[in-house]
Amino acid sequence: MNQVILKQKEQKEIENRKNESSIVYDTKKLNLWYGNTHALKDIDLPVQERSVTAIIGPSGCGKSTYIKTLNRMVEMNPEVRTTGKVHYRGRNIFDSSYPAEELRTRVGMVFQKPNPFPKSIFDNVVYGPKIHGITDKKILQKIVEKSLRGAAIWDEVKDRLKENAYSLSGGQQQRLCIARCLAVEPDVILMDEPTSALDPKSTLKVEELIQELKQNYSIIIVTHNMQQAARISDKTAFFLNGEVIEYDETDKIFSNPVDKRTEDYITGRFG
């Protein structure tokens, strides 16, 4: 009898999770201050899994701050204060029982400027798995290949894995950083203007890569390049002065925005 109830309960939980699981990140009433500067105001933003969500807006609108809040990197600045909730897979990331380090193993990040470690290409990729306890050389080898393939850079570097990462070009370095991030098998990848420091050719490669990655990962990308958002994202959020002005399907935002300010921005009237 008890067991039946238990089974039913379990069943229910699984159902619940399935419903929830289409939403990977859910931000509710998030406010953030840098000292006295109110940088994010009442952000509400549900993010779909296995899709690309773009965040656009003019400089200083809080889009970078927002994405850095999602893996709590923003807290590296000791002046930061937050209120509200951000749920990742149903868990509030600000919960004191949820270590930021654990969150960051599930949520990877790619930065504006490529930031490989001054180590070999191989060591860059295995850094994450190693700190999380994988020491078996053979497994590490496999992880390196899988991640580099995943980041579409394997063919370019497979013969020079022992070389220093700084010997790569900027575009290659950025894909290496993506590979480094894939190596810990994240669920979500946050990208903070990942192509802003790259030339057009490398940008295209990274964009193609993002399209591929969304089969398996949920991607949230900050970009100041509207064409990029239009090309690669499924949904787009428009930020202005720390607020979400509009959040919808990308096609809709770019073809038929509801808010006048969104329209002004995407038609290039400011920003």
Binding site: T105, P129, I131
Partner: protein, 294 residues
């Protein structure tokens, strides 16, 4: 294929976080350790010196009897040394810095001079003592007098003044130089009237640090031969002398014979540290007062 196991990650997490927390406190403790030792050192020295520092101690001459021994000669000896070290290092140090920063073209010779200065800074002070002994005391035949000690010390601390002056000169914004050249001033006029006044606080800070280093240096003086018990007080640069660190040295090693000498050494250390503390405060005040005035 899945390689990462969230269960493993989670099970290791608390251990890693604990290690992180523990090391944080451990490293803080380590940063504070040095300060604790410093505190113990100061406490010991001050306690040992209690009752020994008074006007008589400062104004009496040396004696083998601890009750009546004073450090007037040692203080004056140190002052006399600095009367040589100050001007000599200032003149040589600033000239060297001006040459390297303003006149020298980047060449092998210039970079050799630069390398040479930074290497001189790493030469043990006792080696400078041997140079002083061999060249100033013996070769020039001036003997173990204030002039020999002062010149030896000047060479020893010269790199400090050179490096500080170089940094100060380099920090003078180029628009100030250009303004001066723009009015037709010559190079030397520009240096004398524009560059040096702006760089002066930095140069003075370097000079004060160099002097504090020279005041505390002992090894070169030991090597050039300072007598253990010298009663007359020096009155010119050609007089034999003793200095505060020398007196600390002799009293410390002789405390095996007469226990009270240790207290005299401690008292002299307190006076020495007070002088150094004052000088360093002065350097900090100069630095803060003139920082980024332009």
């Amino acid at each position: 294929m899945q390689f990462m196991d969230m269960k493993v990650v989670q099970s290791r997490m608390s251990k890693r976080l604990l290690l992180n927390q523990m090391t944080k406190w451990l490293f803080l403790a380590s940063a504070i350790f040095g300060l604790l030792v410093l505190a113990v050192l100061l406490y010991r020295v001050i306690v040992d010196s209690l009752g020994w520092i008074n006007i008589d101690f400062l104004t009496s001459v040396l004696s083998t009897k601890p009750e009546i021994a004073g450090i007037k000669g040692a203080i004056l000896g140190t002052v006399w040394l600095m009367i040589i070290v100050g001007p000599v290092t200032m003149a040589l140090g600033v000239s060297t810095a001006i040459y390297i920063e303003e006149y020298a073209r980047p060449s092998k010779l210039t970079s050799f001079i630069q390398t040479n200065i930074s290497n001189l800074a790493g030469v043990p002070s006792i080696v400078f003592g041997l140079l002083g002994l061999t060249v100033f005391v013996r070769l020039f035949g001036i003997g173990s007098v204030i002039l020999a000690g002062g010149l030896t010390m000047s060479l020893l601390v010269l790199p400090i003044v050179v490096v500080a002056s170089q940094e100060a000169i380099r920090a003078v914004p180029s628009y100030l130089r250009e303004a001066s050249y723009g009015m037709g001033a010559t190079k030397w006029q520009t240096i004398k009237n524009v560059v040096l006044p702006v760089a002066l606080p930095g140069i003075l800070t370097g000079l004060i640090l160099a002097i504090s280093r020279a005041i505390g240096e002992t090894a070169p003086l030991v090597v050039i031969g300072i007598p253990a018990l010298l009663i007359p007080v020096p009155t010119s640069i050609f007089d034999r002398f003793t200095a505060m660190p020398m007196q600390i040295y002799y009293w410390t090693i002789d405390s095996v014979l007469v226990a009270e000498y240790a207290y005299l050494a401690a008292a002299t250390i307190v006076i020495l540290l007070l002088i150094l503390f004052t000088l360093n405060s002065l350097a900090i005040i100069i630095r803060n007062k003139f920082d980024r005035r332009y």
